[in-house]
Every structure is written in C-alpha cells, then in structure tokens.
Symmetry: C2
Subunit: 407 residues, 2 copies
C-alpha cells in the first residue's frame, strides 16, 4: 500500500490512513506500506535548502529530504499502535533498498528485504519511508520525482506481493483528465504498456519510472482512492485473452516547447551531435522529426519540457561552430495530445479518425509521433483541451468498453 | 564544536554558524561539529506525535525526533560548501555511535568513528547529527535531554580531541544565574567535579550526563558564546596546582517538591521499600533525610522534580498495605540553593557562613544536603532568588578570584 503526500497531509489524515492500513491487516493480509512525506514537508525542506545555498550539495539534499518520509512513517506507526496493531517503521536503508550513488536521482539497484520479512513473520505491519535508499558508500540517497511510487513497486517486486496498491486523491486512471473532460470514465483495467504511454504522455496518476519498474518485474498495480473504498484501476500484464480497447484513453501535456534547427547538412553524425549536446545538458528531448528538403539540407524539430527550453537553446548555440545551420527557432506555445490503446496494433484506422476529427475542428497538427499503441500530435497549446474533448467524443470514450467494442 | 538549537534557529543563523566553523577550519584545526535540531523543530515534531497518540511508541519517537538534527547538519554542510569548504554530514548511525536499546533515553555504549576519521583525513569538515545513535538491533535511538551535548563529548573522547567546544547563547558558566544576580561573573575555569555539582543542582548551561561523560573520559570542555568570539569557561580535570576557589558558584532550582512520610517503623528495609517503589515509578528522588523520633517511629523526607510529584504520591499510596505509616504529606512550594566549590574540602567554615547568612535574612532552611564540594539547602520557593543574591554577596563572588583568595 502506497499513500502519497496529499493522503498524509496532516495528522488527522495520517490517522485515517492508519485506519485503512489496519483494515487491510485485519482482513488477514501481510501488509507493507510506503508513505510519502506529509503534504508540504518536502517543499518546506527544499525552501530551507534554497535559503542556505543557490546550489545545494546533492548528497546533503538527500540527507535533508529523506527526513520527510521518515516522519510520516514514524507517525503512522504510532497511529497504528493506538489502533491495537503492532507496526514498525523503516528507513530506505533499513529496508535494504540499495541504490546507485547518483544523489537526488538515484536508481534502485537491489533490495534485500530481510528485516521487512522478519518483521512480517513477527506479525508486524511494516512501514517503509518512500523515495530513498542507501548507496554502496553507505550514504542516504533519494530517488527523485515519483520516488515513493518507485519504492512501492520495487518493494512489491522484492517481496512477491500479490498487488501494489497506489492510494491517492484520484480514484483511478481515467479515459482523460476529468478536469478537462467531465464525462471522462474511470478505466477498470489497463496493461502496463498502455499505462506507460499514458504516464509518459501526460497522465500524472503514476510516476513513469514506477510503471516501467512494474512492467519489467510483472508487478500488478491497483490505483485507487485513499478516501473511498471503491475499486480503482488495475494495471496488469497483457494476456492474450485480454479485451483490447482500440483507444483506452487520452493523455495531454501543456508545458512543452518545440525547437527547430533549419538548414543543417544532411549527413551522418549531425543528428547524433545535436542529441549528444542536449543529453550532456540534461535536456529531456521527446518527439523528434527530421525532414530533408530538395536542396539537400535538413530541418530537425524536437520537443522539450517548457522549463528546459533555455537550457536546450544554450546547448545548441554552443554547437554552432561544429557544423553550420541556417537558423534556430523555437515555439514555447505548444502542447501534446496522445491517444493510447493496446487495440491500435490491429486497428490501423485510428490515426485517420484522429486527424480527421482535429481537421474538422480546424486544429492544426504540427508534428506527429506514433508507437504501436499510441498516436501523439503536437498542436498549439491553446487548442489542447478542446482537442482532448473532441477526441474523447469521437472515440466514444465515455461509454462502457462493452459498447465500444462495436466502434 | 557543538552548537545548540538556539544557535541554529533559522537558516541565517546556520550560515553564521557555518562561518564560525569555517574560521576554525581555516586556522588549521581538524573540525568535527555536532548540531542540535533547529530552534523549534523538536517541539514541532513532539506536537505532531502528541496529535497522533497519547502514548507514542518510543521506537517511533526516536525515528521521528532524530530527523531534526539531520536537517540541521545537511543545511550546515551546504552552507560550508558555499563558503568554499568541503563538508559532509553524518547521522548518529553513520558516525558509528552505538547505544543501548532504551528508546528515547538511550546511553552511548561505544563509538566507532572510522568514517569520521576517513573524512577528516580526506580534508573534510565533519558534521554529526547530535542526540542520536543506533542500537544493536540497527534501530535509530535518541539520547534524551541534553543528548547533543553528550554526543559532542563522546565524539571528543573517541577522537582524542584537544577540546570539546560547547557553543550556545550564554558566554560561559557564571557564579550564579545572571538573570537573578546581575553582578554574577563568568568563571574562567571550573573542574569537572564542580561543573557536575552545578549541573546537577540547577545550572542549565551543560547537560549533567555530558559533564559526567567528560569527567569519566577526561575531556576538556570550553563553554562559550556562538555569537561572540570571547573566551568562555574552561572545564578541565582538577590538577594539584589548580587554584581552588572556596566557593566557585551558586546554582538553584525552583521546580522542586518535597514529600514527607511520617510515623514509619524504624527498622531495616523500610527505606529500601519506599525508594524501590519510587524507582519503579521512574521518579527521580533527590535529597533524602530521615529522622528517628523518641517513640521509635521515623520521618522520611525527600525531594522530587515538581512535575513528578503526582507520580511519587501515587507510588507511595500504593505502598500503604506493605507497612504502616501515620501520614503522607507534600510541599509543592520548595526550591534549592547550592554552593559549589572545590576549595570547600579544606574550608569547613563555608556551611556556617551560609546558614548564618540565610538566618540573618530570615530564610528558613527545611533540609540540608552536602557533598565534599557542595552544600545544598531546601527552602521556600519564594525565597530562592533572594537567597542566591545574599549568598553571592556574602561570598564576594562578583569579585575576581585573585581577590577572593583572601576571604
């Protein structure tokens, strides 16, 4: 069971979460819980660090930030004690979560859950501080954004858990963001691959890394509400007999920017040089397209998160001497809309329907990117939400899956 | 170097402390620093725990409270980094501080400072989270009140430090509390034994346990101001040629209560039964006196901290069936005044001067307790501060030690 920061925002909510954990234990489950830091704790710690230094030492950021989840776990253990349950909190290090030494963005290398198994065998409820581990230098590390989701999935894999339940303030994964599409429907089930595309393309329900980890280790996820008892969305391995929706859902991103390099020599190694310089500057390049024009010069466009645009521009300007290009331009007013569905593999007409729908709404497509279960279009940011709504209607996503089988 | 919570109350003060640490490192010292939690952090964590539970699990209290000192150390390491110094923070566990398993009141059993020595050899400034350690069960423990002082002294002993500097918002140890006696004078030097009596009898400058540890391991302490550069008070082993003040200082306590059990059988084992029942209830019994009256019955009186009076009364009422006593009474309006001085050993007239001075002021002495370097009187609480002032005058403590040699 993993509870995010908004589910443990104050001591009243921690007591409520403890009640939920206690109920699971009383049903006979061996329960391991991962908690995030309480509501605003991490923000508070980050602001302390920024008051001290413009460039805080990463090792010390980890020492600092890792305290938030420990506080949540200790308080939850106390609350469980008051409910008559024996519970014990563990730091990432105590839980045997070994990571690499990349402070603030560490990756889990292995888990030795010996102490957790011993505690479970002793009949205890186990609480593990999320988002953290210990390096081979015995230093505290943190896992970066979405780290507590990753902790939960990794523990579920290491312990052979039946299911990894991710509790938050949403009741599951929806066909689209319900704030944009009021008729959006909660999906009862998704494959890991579909969830991966949803997470990569804008759904904030689950951290991308956690979904990757779940897919790679075959961990079944159940995304559900911390406030309500209803079933959420199950995310499982795809099985041959699984009903495959043609379009399962629509994800969108509004905080993207596009960079275009025009008039570059169309020869081997140029794209590689560009991408290497961006990677060195730690820019997350997404959708990439390249066209060769009649005069033998190429245009290369790609998207980056909006907040990385200045870094990307600086990296590319630094490249100018290495090979010539005619111009560098950018557009900080773009967004992305993505259709995801495992059934697309065998239904080639989805792209045509999507493009036709957007054309009928006079929404101009700037870039297109596809995988076998996803189609992404880059459009003007102001048109993103409207595009999501018309596509949700066009693919009849508000209807139950059984009806959609006829589409 | 140890800095208390009021010296690291906010990020500005942490930066100031970092400047002080940097200056020590620049003078060529190998510097190890122990920090307390920032100002109100521990109080905040305690209040979170009390919001959760009326009786928080001690192991989880330690997991919770130990985070405060880690935050201070991580922030100080960042601040030192910005000053151009390489610094590294360590938790109690990482610093090799092994304790027993008594959560919230653990005692240090051993220190393996291997990682600290390695860091010092690498030219780093070392920061160690105070107040905490790790048990043989690999659980986080805390050392209770004054724990960070104890951490500092224990590290100084383990590392063979030249001096353990205790920085706080006072400039040293005074002949009396300057808030009570405006003419009180900062003492340049005290023996461990004298400081031990001062700390036990009410001086709040240093935690009693830390002074005990320093005495037992021969650690030289220097109590000084975190805001000013001036020398503070040195606390050292007593040497034969050390000038011994007859009276070094006056300590006082105002939060005490007295319990009297009247009319108990004057036979072996009764006092033991009483003290055992109080010890079992975790009552800290201090000054004890017993008188036998003509009819063969005894009266036993002792003092306890005021907040433990209800517990002490309950424990004694539970004893009633075991042996008879005529009455149980208590006085919650008492206080203590103590004269401390290594020179008392060879100057028997001190007690007479003390009692005469108090009598001249019409201050009634209810109990007397002495050691070879200390005289303590129990008096009415309302008269404590006046007693401190008249005794400070009577023993001419505001004057320099060189003049007092004539007394």
């Amino acid at each position: 069971m993993k509870f995010g920061g908004s589910s443990v925002a104050d001591t009243d909510m921690i007591r409520r979460v403890a009640g939920r954990i206690a109920a699971a234990a009383e049903e006979g489950s061996r329960v391991v819980v991962t908690l995030s830091a309480m509501g605003s704790t991490t923000d508070h710690l980050v602001s302390l660090a920024s008051e001290i230094s413009g460039a805080p030492i990463p090792r010390e950021m980890d020492m600092l930030l890792s305290t938030g989840e420990r506080i949540s776990c200790a308080l939850a253990a106390m609350a469980l004690g008051d409910l008559g349950h024996r519970a014990r909190s563990f730091t990432g290090s105590q839980a045997g979560i070994r990571t690499d030494g990349n402070h603030t963005t560490a990756r889990i290398e292995s888990i030795n859950p010996e102490r957790l198994v011993q505690a479970l065998d002793d009949g205890l409820v186990v609480l593990v501080a999320g988002f953290q581990g210990v390096s081979s230098d015995r230093d505290v590390t943190t896992l970066g954004r979405g780290g507590s989701d990753t902790t939960a999935v990794a523990l579920a894999a290491a312990l052979g858990a039946e299911v990894c339940e991710i509790y938050s303030d949403v009741t599951g994964v929806f066909t689209a963001d319900p704030r944009v599409v009021p008729s959006a429907r909660k999906l009862p089930r998704l494959s890991h691959e579909e969830m991966l595309e949803m997470a990569a393309m804008g759904s904030r329900v689950l951290a991308l890394r956690a979904v990757e980890f779940a897919r790679n280790h075959g961990v079944t996820l159940h995304v559900r509400s911390s406030a309500r008892a209803e079933e959420g969305t199950w995310i499982t391995e795809e099985t041959p007999d699984m009903e495959q929706a043609i379009v399962s859902g629509i994800a969108h991103k509004s905080d993207e920017a596009k960079v275009t390099i025009s008039g570059i020599a169309d020869k081997p190694g140029v794209a590689a040089a560009i991408m290497t310089s961006l990677a060195d500057a730690l820019v997350n390049v997404d959708t990439i397209i390249q066209n060769v024009s009649a005069d033998g010069l190429a245009d290369l466009s790609f998207t980056v998160p909006l907040d990385q645009l200045p870094t990307a521009q600086a990296a590319l300007e630094g490249l100018d001497g290495e090979f010539g290009y005619e111009s560098l331009s950018s557009d900080d007013q773009i967004g992305k809309v993505t259709l995801v569905g495992a059934g697309m593999k065998s239904n080639p007409g989805v792209a045509a329907t999507m493009f036709r729908t957007l054309a009928a709404e006079d929404i101009n497509i700037q870039m297109i990117d596809t995988s076998n279960i996803r189609i992404t279009v880059v459009i003007n940011r102001r048109e993103v939400e409207r595009a999501v709504r018309v596509l949700h209607d066009a693919f009849d996503l508000a209807a139950e899956a059984s009806r959609r089988a006829d589409v």
